[in-house]
């Protein structure tokens, strides 16, 4: 079983690399086409930046295939361990990758933007490399983690939240690039702003749910729903940053660049929370 898990993990990594290579190739062609259009009709621009034809279809199919492969890796892991992917960093990294790929598929289908997908997939690729490095044989659960149902829901909620926040990060980064360069092959700023906001309004309630579920579990396991444990606090910092984003959008002068910067900071807080185990000591100290 462990062999199959390793095979699917390697295949997932290869597939994500392939999607990104196709994306680079399609981007080059798209830029050439865009230049041709501009030469022909000054001011003409691609509406969405989506590569067309065969490459577009190929990248979509490969992205879906990546999701299938990561799903199979997770399934074989869960069959081995008998619980959700929450006991170590390898399992959670894999689940996070699943969340990112699922979200990039949904957002690409909804907004027809391959560029945001590609940023998301770069993050997924880095996490997959991390997962390959951290891959380990399953270990039995320590008593505090023997709360499979609640922990699985807690982690599932975090996976979707982190996945969708990766989309908002991708859209924010592209927004900042567009703001400086105004590239014809990238989505326009309004679309990127809408993608950022829509992803945050999905992610923010999910992150809230993650924190509340974590608090319920902490109350059951440790007798205190909030202990100011560094990882808890770091997730609160993440939540507060996205709360700032939600409120900043209501303020004059805080839209656009400042909002995009807040989203980049929010993603930094997610990474801090995710990798915090290697920095913090406390109740979440596991590897």
């Amino acid at each position: 079983m462990s062999g199959l898990e390793s095979i699917f993990l390697t295949a997932s990594l290869a597939c994500v690399i392939l999607v990104l290579l196709v994306a680079v190739f399609s981007s080059v062609i798209s830029r050439k086409n865009s230049r041709a259009v501009i030469d022909k009709d000054k001011g003409g621009r691609s509406a969405t930046g989506t590569p067309s034809g065969v490459l577009s279809v190929s990248s979509k199919i490969l992205t879906i295939l990546s999701l299938v492969l990561v799903t199979l890796t997770l399934v074989f892991r869960i069959i081995q361990t008998g619980h959700g992917p929450f006991s170590n960093m390898y399992e959670f990294a894999l689940a996070y990758v699943w969340g990112i790929i699922a979200m990039v598929i949904i957002f690409e289908w909804r907004y027809k933007t391959a560029s945001v997908r590609n940023v998301g997939l770069i993050v997924a690729l880095l996490l997959l490399i991390f997962a390959v490095v951290k891959h380990s044989t399953p270990q039995p659960l320590v008593p505090a983690l023997q709360q499979s149902t609640l922990l699985s829901v807690h982690v599932a909620s975090a996976v979707f939240a982190y996945g969708v926040f990766t989309i908002s990060f991708g859209a924010a980064v592209l927004f900042l690039i567009q703001n400086r360069r105004s590239l014809s092959w990238l989505p326009d700023k309004e679309t990127l702003d809408i993608i950022s906001y829509r992803s945050v309004i999905i992610g923010f309630p999910l992150l809230t749910l993650t924190i509340v579920l974590g608090a319920i579990w902490a109350d059951i396991a440790w007798g205190k729903f909030w202990s100011w444990d560094p990882k808890e606090t770091s997730s609160l910092v993440t939540w507060l940053i996205y709360a700032v984003y939600m409120h900043a959008r209501l303020m004059r002068g805080w839209k656009d660049i400042k909002a995009a910067i807040i989203l980049v900071a929010g993603f930094g807080a997610i990474l801090l929370t995710f990798f915090g185990n290697y920095i913090f000591t406390g109740l979440h100290a596991y590897n």
């Binding site: 270990q139 039995p140 320590v142 008593p143 505090a144 023997q146 709360q147 702003d193 809408i194 906001y197 829509r198 309004i201 923010f204 309630p205 809230t208 749910l209 509340v212 608090a215 319920i216 109350d219 059951i220 396991a221 440790w222 007798g223 205190k224 729903f225 909030w226 100011w228 560094p230 990882k231 606090t233 770091s234 609160l236 910092v237 507060l240 940053i241 709360a243 700032v244 409120h247 900043a248 959008r249 209501l250 303020m251 805080w254 801090l272 915090g276 920095i279 913090f280």
Partner: protein
């Protein structure tokens, strides 16, 4: 007299203007953002900077030693500076508390301040808008040359809007017809729910800390009883404790078989495990830690039992690099003796002073001065300070956290309300559409539409969908030849 009145009036005016200024400041979203950023920054410090353990924060001497230790090990000269800034106790620091309190006030005032706009949104504002409203807005469109009278066009628009879930209010002014439509108006109250639930959450958190109690170190040796205190009338007896391990040495299970007494009556027998606390009348017992206990018997010179039972060795300390455990027997009933400290070596520790299989008996007077210190071998007796000590055997103790938080239910209700309110606001956005129909000829009319959606939602897409639907309905009319001009 008149000047005094004027002075009072001026004074009241000044207070009023200060209060108004404060109200304005606290009703600003900008202040909310600044305060959230301050709380975020301080929380980040709390996550990244080592924090003083909660149990020493009330003990200045222990805290000072801890800061010295941190200074020596990690921070060097920065430790006293960070300590002076209260950053080692950041979540109990005045900065954090003040920022949180100001944020709560800000949330309260911001929310109250929005009542009028929410109320007007729910009631519905003005139906009639000037024509310039329809021609100058960003999300506006028009359909010209409709071969129907304006009343019919308005009725058709009303029907379509109602079909899309809008509440449509219609008003006529001769041959001019106006419609104001809105959707999800009651979901605007979600903002109240989520913001007030945050305040409720913080109040419940504070009330729980004030009205409840928490014992983080509640050790009970096997076979022993211990009163919970805090006017609960409860006491816990530990029947047995078991710790199990996997083959790789990792912990598998900790469980305590206990009997809970209310007064002298046993009210509950239970197994307490991690993730499975014992709950009785709101008092919760959590499995938290465990350790060794010793079984000891003490007799006086006449052979009468002074003490017989298991003692928890739950105080761990290190001297000259050797770890030992300490347990205490209080002997207040004796005239000259205050307490007996039992000292045992740590498991697998190499201890030249107290070898394995022995226990140190340290007898103290009422002033905590040492009377005698001797070793007693396992299974043997020894007379020390006129008393016979028998080291009967080894045992275990189980450590619990005992807590009572009368506001915990409110905290979970507040959390649920917050999520519910957030869903209501974010997923059921308040949308508004205004329609104006006027004659453009004898049997023809023009239709003007404007839409407004919350930030982050494109009003144009909703407007286009409504206009497409209207045009589709119009094309089915035989006399109709519509022409759009966005």
């Amino acid at each position: 007299m008149a000047s005094k009145k004027n002075k009072n009036k001026k004074g009241h005016g000044a207070i009023k203007s200060v209060l108004q200024w404060l109200w304005r400041q606290f009703s600003s979203v900008r202040l909310a953002v600044i305060l959230i950023l301050v709380v975020t920054g301080l929380s980040l410090v709390g996550a990244l900077l080592i924090q003083a353990p909660a149990e020493i924060s009330g003990d200045p001497q222990a805290y000072s030693s801890w800061v010295n230790m941190v200074s020596a090990n990690k921070m060097g000269g920065w430790a006293p500076v960070l300590s002076a800034l209260r950053l080692f106790n950041v979540f109990r620091s005045p900065w954090f508390i003040i920022a949180c309190v100001l944020l709560m006030i800000n949330i309260l005032i911001c929310t109250l301040n929005r009542w009028n706009s929410i109320k007007s949104g729910i009631r519905g504002g003005s139906i009639k808008q000037e024509e310039v409203f329809y021609t100058s807005g960003d999300s506006c469109g028009r359909i010209d040359n409709i071969q129907l009278v304006s009343a019919d066009v308005a009725l058709l628009s009303e029907k379509i809007l109602k079909g899309r879930g809008y509440r449509a209010r219609i008003q006529s002014d001769n041959t001019f017809l106006y419609i104001a439509a809105d959707r999800n108006r009651y979901f605007k109250l979600g903002t109240y729910l989520s913001h007030f639930s945050l305040i409720l959450f913080v109040l419940a958190f504070a009330a729980g800390n004030y009205l409840g109690f928490r014992e983080i170190k509640f050790s009970v040796a096997e076979g022993a009883f211990r009163e919970v205190g805090h006017e609960t009338g409860l006491s816990l007896q530990l029947v047995s404790f078991v710790d199990e391990y996997y083959d790789n040495g990792a912990p598998k299970d900790y469980r305590s078989e206990v009997i809970l007494y209310e007064g002298a009556i046993p009210v509950k027998e239970a197994t307490i495990q991690v993730n499975h606390p014992l709950v009785y009348k709101g008092v919760r017992f959590y499995q938290s830690y465990f350790g060794p206990a010793v079984k000891m018997q003490i007799r006086d010179e006449n052979g009468q039992d002074i003490f017989s039972g298991n003692i928890t060795m739950d105080d761990s300390f290190v001297i000259d690099g050797v770890q030992r455990y300490k347990g205490i027997i209080e002997l207040d009933s004796l005239q000259d003796i205050g307490q007996v400290n039992l000292i045992s070596p740590a498991i697998n520790a190499v201890d030249d002073i107290i070898p394995a299989g022995f226990i140190g008996v340290d007898i103290r007077n009422k002033n905590n001065e040492q009377i005698d210190l001797k070793l007693v071998e396992l299974g043997k007796s020894r007379v020390i300070a006129g008393m016979e000590f028998t080291y009967l055997g080894e045992s275990s103790y189980s450590g619990f956290q005992v807590s009572h938080d009368p506001a915990s239910t409110i905290i979970w209700i507040a959390s649920a309300l917050f999520i519910f309110g957030m869903f209501a606001v974010l997923y059921f956005p308040f949308r508004q559409v205004w329609v104006f129909s006027r004659p453009s000829g004898k049997e023809s009319s023009s239709l003007f539409l404007c839409a407004r959606s919350p930030r982050g939602f494109k009003s144009n897409s909703e407007l286009n969908a409504i206009m497409d639907q209207i045009k589709k309905e119009l094309t089915s009319h035989p006399a109709m030849d519509g022409k759009e001009d966005n």
